[in-house]
Amino acid sequence: MQGVVKRYGNAVALDYVDLAIYEGEIVGLLGPNGAGKTTLIQTMTGMVPIERGTIKLFGQSNNPFTHANKEKLGLVTQEITVYDELTAKENLQFFAGVYGLKGSERKERVQEALAFVGLAEYADKVPTKFSGGMKRRLNIACALTHRPKLLIMDEPTVGIDPQSRNHILESVKKLQEQGTTILYTTHYMEEVQEIASRVVIMDQGQMIKGGTVDQLIQSIQHEERIHIDVADTSLLPVEQLQSIAGVMHVDVAGTRVTVISTAGSGNVDRILSLVKEYTGVLGIQTENPDLEDVFLTLTGKQLRDGGGEA
């Protein structure tokens, strides 16, 4: 898509956005709430019309949302969009049917999709009996029966257990190996870090920065995180910690203090001795930067603070 503008009322939701997704990639789309991620997805799937600019889908730029093109698109919605009255299998049959699959082919694809997300044993159960993770997996399976070329996943892992999440991430990787292109939005940086081949960061309806995970981390490389578990956080000299040279951010949560500091400045020692003066240290751990820190460094705000709606 190129130079896309979209307004809601007088508010500009997308402001001359350019984005290209190439075949076989997993693109991670990051951005705080209200950055325009959802609008971006809605425009690129033709759910809402755009005001300016062009959208090119599978090489077709005028009227890209033909039925033939839509057959190659898949969407995993943020909400769990399955029918509660129908069993897992019937849900899949329904969505497969909408995409024009029939007879034995549909049967096969449904079985395949069920097996793919690991729900084959639960084919004849209704989703109301499922756990959160299983519902999510079913939600994903519903977008797979027609084997989309481009799969858009809008926060597919909100609110589920780690096991299901790993399962989902594995499936996403597997899909990519099978040749599916994937656009993945999420609030969880570690997910993007794990699977995305390229990351795009959005803010206020504009693209801020793009590149591979490594490139982005490289740009702020020389930073580290120091987690210290202490006996009593109320005694902590937060002000003094902040005034140590090279310390960029101090965060206290529970009994854990997190300090973001310049790498190689020998600060670990300094911070530790300062903390020790005031309270007992129970444990310490240092961490190299991840995408979360990229975002924090670039904008000074946390990516995930609101959670929920994107």
């Binding site: 130079g3 503008v5 307004r7 009322g9 007088n10 508010a11 402001d15 001359y16 005001e51 300016r52 803010d203 206020q204 801020i208 920065k209 740009s219 702020i220 490389q221 020389h222 930073e223 005034s243 140590i244 040279a245 090279g246 310390v247 960029m248 310049t262 790498a263 190689g264 400045s265 460094t297 670039l298 904008t299 000074g300 705000k301």
Partner: protein, 362 residues
């Protein structure tokens, strides 16, 4: 609400309002039940226009319906307000006036009907103008934003060019210093050094004393020369972190805490300019718009980046987006491969990060 200002909303509301007026006429008139069909049909058309952009010729249907019913009921005449309005909304004033001719066929007091059609015409024209305005306004805004982005792109290239120019200048300057040192000091110091070597092997005390004097003279001259060269090279203006500190110190509107860390010499001159501009802009904003009492300024230099953070405790949040000053700073920061962000969630927070690179441009 912003939505309340959408002219399209008023157009839809007016249509349904007019159908409401027709209903009112029907309820309090003496018409037969059959006439109710006319109102329903007109309502259906209004609904269709609400959902879809019907082509203009569809008003012919409205007109025909009204004319068919006109001999039996006055609602047929009043219903003409709808097509009149549709035509006016599309700017076809002359055609919109045509239905007024129907007044001559109308036996009862035509005054009220005339006024009714007239208001439809005027409301329609007004909506037409408003819609047109809105459209051209949007077009203009988009065009301007686009132009600005183009401009920014050009600026970006210019900035990159100026960055490399400044690096060139730096190299030239180094070369000049080297030559000056070589020309003024090198000669005398080499001479002194040679003389001292000769002095070691000297037998005659008289000659040796002369030689020593010579060496002393040369060294004195070198010292003077060195002092002069250095004096000539030292800039009068404050540079680097000093100038930043200076800016901070002269700020009087709020208590300011300046805190720096790292090796300031790693930062290039052109980056100092930007950092200074950032600080000035932020402090100006504090002074002008904010009710902050405390400002925290942090400057951190690491091996690879320099990060400037300005944070105040003001509570006045301005909804306006990045102004032109901030935007240009953002562009310049990006041009240097860095980033620039502002947030107003908790006081005013400005973060500018620039990469440092030892070799060439980042």
């Amino acid at each position: 609400m912003k939505a309340a200002m959408e002219p399209q909303l008023y157009v839809h509301t007016w249509r349904f309002l007019m159908v409401g007026v027709l209903c009112h006429l029907w309820v309090f008139g003496q018409d037969l039940t059959n006439v109710w069909i006319l109102i329903l049909l007109l309502l259906a058309l209004a609904c269709l226009r609400w959902r879809f952009a019907l082509p203009l010729w569809t008003v012919v249907i409205d007109v025909c319906l009204c004319l068919v019913y006109a001999p039996y009921t006055t609602i047929g005449y009043y219903g003409l307000a709808l097509p009149v309005f549709e035509l006016a909304v599309r700017g076809r004033v002359l055609i919109a006036v045509l239905p007024f001719a129907i007044l001559f066929l109308y036996e009862a007091t035509p005054g009220l009907l005339f006024l009714f059609l007239l208001q439809a015409l005027f409301v329609g024209l007004f909506a037409w103008a408003a819609l047109g305005n809105q459209h051209s306004y949007k077009l203009e805004v988009d065009k301007q934003r686009k132009a600005r982005y183009e401009l920014e792109r050009v600026k970006l290239e210019l900035l990159e060019a100026s960055e490399s120019a400044s690096q060139q200048a730096e190299l030239m300057e180094r070369y000049r210093i080297a030559r000056q040192l070589h020309d003024h000091l090198g000669h005398d110091l080499t001479g002194a050094s040679l003389a001292l070597q000769a002095y070691v092997h000297m037998q005659e005390p008289e000659e040796a004393r002369e030689l020593l004097e010579e060496v002393q003279k040369r060294l004195e001259r070198s010292t003077v020369n060195l002092r002069e060269t250095v004096h000539n090279l030292t800039p009068v203006a404050r540079i680097g972190v000093e100038s930043l500190e200076n800016v901070a110190q002269q700020f009087q509107y709020a208590a300011i805490r300046f805190h720096r860390s790292g090796d300031m010499l790693l930062v290039s001159a052109y980056q100092w300019t930007l950092l200074e501009a950032c600080l000035k802009e932020a402090l100006t904003n504090v002074a002008r718009h904010s009710n902050a009492t405390q400002v925290r300024v942090e400057l951190q230099v690491t091996a690879s980046i320099v990060r400037l953070l300005i944070h105040d405790n003001g509570t006045m949040t301005q909804p306006s987006l990045a102004g032109s000053g901030l935007r240009s700073l953002q562009m310049r920061a990006r041009a240097m491969g860095g980033s620039f962000s502002i947030s107003r969630d908790d006081g005013y927070l400005l973060v500018c990060v620039l990469p440092l690179s030892k070799e060439g441009a980042g």
